[in-house]
Amino acid sequence: MSDTPDILTPYARSLGIEIADESGDAPTLLLPFSKIAEGRPGVLHGGATSGLLETAGYAALRVALDRLERDHRLKPINVTVQFLSAAKKQPTYALGRVTRAGRRNANIVVEAWQDDRDRPVATAVMNVLMTTPD
């Protein structure tokens, strides 16, 4: 068993999301460009971008909770995605930051970028409910 919590859901693996870097506070995820993630020809589908952002958001929270030795079942409350520019035929990265983790809910911000880390292609804000495991 790996020490890191399981941060890739069956959906995330199916879409092709990978862990690119685990050295930071939260894991940086990677979505390679592929036919199944493509929307308009040559452009990443907004749904695939959102899926990557949400997965990176949960990953950031999982790792933060793991560090605190807290075990929760996570339930989505909401997500708001801002699409800043069309994501092109390139790998897309995403990294989340837990802005607040209370006892019952967490607020997370996530950024996705391609070749330039300082020019995000999309950002997301997520609210997540943390319940005790069944």
Partner: protein, 163 residues
Amino acid sequence: MKEVEPTVTIPRNQGSSRAATSGFDPAAAAPLLLSQNHGGWLGLRYRDHGEDWAELELPWRADLIGEASRDVLASGPIVSLMDMASGMSVWVKMGEFRAIATLDLRVDYVRPSREGANVIGRAECYRLTNSAAFVRGIAHDGDANDPVAHIAGCFMAIMGQRL
């Protein structure tokens, strides 16, 4: 400003009784728009549409679940479903298929969908201006009065085109 052609050619109304006033017919466009790329991978299907709304269905599939222990669709595919239904509602309201971009999309997950259930997404373009289109909608798993999610989004025309 140079007009940008849509990237695919969408059939115009051809004998459809629905939305006869609109130059964009989701029923006719769906096979082309939904059969390929991300929408094709998710298996999105056309269900219905009106003058300013469109309804699509996302079939349940084992490899799209959000937790290994529960047969519930992940939230990602639901965003994809609602993004696509939203775009279609904008095109049907515009009466034209033009390149549009999602500016933002908010999804409130009011309850988990039932295990093994398909999810139906219905989006309505409630306001169209020269530069923006405003959309709201719901996702449900059988009963439209008991949604699994509510959405609100904003779309814009690409490359200086007017909506």
